[in-house]
Amino acid sequence: MQGQGKTVIKVGLSTCGIAAGGYKTYEAITTAIKDNNIDLILKKTGCIGMCYLEPIVDVIAPDGTLFSYGAVDEDKGRRIVSEHIRGGRPLQDSLINNERESVVGGQVRIALRNCGIINPESLDEYRAAGGYDAVEKALRVMTPEQVIEEVLRSGLRGRGGAGFPTGLKWRFTRLNKGEQKYIVCNADEGDPGAFMDRSIIEGDPHAVIEGMLLAGYAVGASQGYIYARAEYPLAIVRLERAIKDAHAAGLLGENILGSAFNFNLKIKKGAGAFVCGEETALIASLEGERGMPRLKPPFPAEQGLWRKPTSINNVETFANVPWIILHGADKYAAYGTEKSKGTKVFALAGKMNRGGLIEVPMGITLREVIFGVGGGVRNQKKFKGVQLGGPSGGCIPESLLDTPVDYDSLTRTGAIMGSGGMIVMDETTCMVDMARYFLDFVQKESCGKCIHCRLGTKRMLEILTRMTEGKSAPEELELLEEIAYNVKEGALCGLGQTAPNPVLTTIQYFRDEYEAHIYDHRCPAKSCTELLTYTIDAELCNGCRRCVKRCPTEAIAGEKKKTHLIDQEKCIKCGNCADACKFEAVKVN
């Protein structure tokens, strides 16, 4: 639905757009439109995925021509109105049409089909884009069994990370007897460095609701819950609005679209516990308990929320479902590999040139994702590794970059598909420190119920910390591996069982870095501050005092035009001096 003969301006207002100053741009454009007295349509939209170019502003001419602008600040926003809209001269330097084509054009956007295109706060726009047609189709011409069959045939697997076939989960939930059944949407996206679910909810909340409706119809549930991360306030606001609008339009509640199907939806805000992404812990949290996992079986499909059959699926999984029902399983299954069908959304971050959100068909190689869509490593640095699947995943080295992105191939490398976080690291990232970072995270988030996770992660963290400080004993590497295998085997839930993955994969692929820390007390990436010394090369220093001014602890002494000296006692190794020096006189060892 475009502007019916009017020009349309769209401003990307997801968390990433807003963080980059999107609201200020939106305000500036609003004022400029008023001042220039122009009749056009200004609206908000979600994230197109090119987060590194936010705030993004799209101008769509009445004839449908798209002009996409990147990094639009207030001034540029005003100029778009005065020069482009009013003067008819697009701002050539700021157009990102070509880049948009090279990034977005190579993608297959199914879960993200509406993100960055429609206004997420408008039910009308969602419907105009084919929204709720799948529910209509299912309710009119499909039995619940047929819906399950279609999803099963599409090959859709859980996009939260574990990759369990969605249709099978629904079938189990349907087959288990019970008057009351539940659908739960897991929107507790806790992996640090992953923001697929946030972006989908912020950019297309109705897609998630529609997916849940279809799930409810399929399994015979009349109540759904969305367990959303409290750290995502905008996502929650947009969901609340979408639920209200869907209710008012008769798409939620009793007798949906005149059928006998009833479905109600409630949002439950998480309270900040990573372990609640684990389904049994999530259930405990929904019931008002501490979010501690329990042993499976029984699986939630048998005894879930309030001990009733429950299907728990991830945000991205739900967002795929309406498309599958509408376009058919075959069309979805045409993408991907034999065992991993369809597409997957990835959040690209770290030392990546084009950080953001992408959706690609399964089976594409890591190299194509990182160096193709992602634009390669920032600042011409050398690629070192990519972390997939957050704290539960692993780190894949350059030699394995041609691994296809599918559940099974990734598992074979020691990493996992995970929820879709992809963090790229370059030569300045220390792998021992990365392992320490993830263990620190998992250790803080361990619920403490089982010994393997509670104590095992703690002991592993202590060893890794000693390594990054150059204080570990040679035999500790072996001990670290031994504990890692024990935790993997013995932990109660997914959090503990996968916690050793970052450690084991970095040892496997980057053993030399561990050895440099242990035997030489040296950090090859020059990242572990405890192992670094900053000195000034007297030959190269010309005494400009630039570093003296930048030092936060007054550790550098030296008069103008005389060689400066760093007081090692006072130095906190922040690296400011090396940044400040224009003559490369500050040496790091």
Partner: protein, 172 residues
């Protein structure tokens, strides 16, 4: 006066306010997490006396409520500063130098994660991931996101908040 300020002054928990929150959830003990979230939203934190009062009202043990409060990272047992600095320690921020930002904040304000400055102006909270990884490293102060930080810009931003507060005090 805010509920929080009033409570700090009088030391008495606003019972009617808590009653109202419980009423919104029809006294359902399984709604304990949203009830605590509302209490914290309105009062600014979960006061210890409030836990005892909630336990009595909901007919559960104070230990259970305390267990929940301490399990979830969101709940706080102490009042917060006027400005809450949420520093992201997600993976992307970590590889892009969040440690240096944390160092700059600690150096500038002499507080670490979870602590509040003695003047009650700032609380530093370290969070796992805010979800704007491509703008890392980031921090959020009172809802405003600051992206692509360096130690210098971080110090500057903090000073701006300090100055803002001084200006506000003078104007009042």
């Amino acid at each position: 006066m805010t509920a929080s300020a009033k409570m700090l002054e009088t030391g008495v928990i606003p019972r009617e306010q808590i009653d109202e929150i419980i009423e919104n959830y029809k006294g359902d003990p399984s709604a304990i997490i949203p009830i605590l979230q509302d209490v914290q939203d309105q009062i600014g934190y979960v006061p210890r006396d409030g836990i005892a009062y909630l336990a009595e009202k909901l007919e559960v043990s104070p230990a259970k409520i305390y267990g929940i409060v301490t399990f979830y990272a969101q709940f706080r047992l102490q009042p917060m500063g006027k400005y809450i600095i949420m520093l992201c320690e997600g993976t992307a921020c970590h590889v892009n130098g969040a440690k240096l930002i944390s160092g700059a904040i600690t150096d500038e304000l002499k507080i670490r994660g979870g602590e509040t400055t003695p003047d009650g102006l700032f609380t530093l909270e370290k969070v796992a991931c805010i979800g704007c990884c491509s703008l890392s490293p980031v921090m959020v102060i009172s809802g405003e996101t600051y992206a692509k930080l360096t130690p210098e810009t971080t110090r500057k931003i903090i000073k701006e908040y300090q100055n803002k507060d001084i200006t506000a005090a003078v104007q009042n």
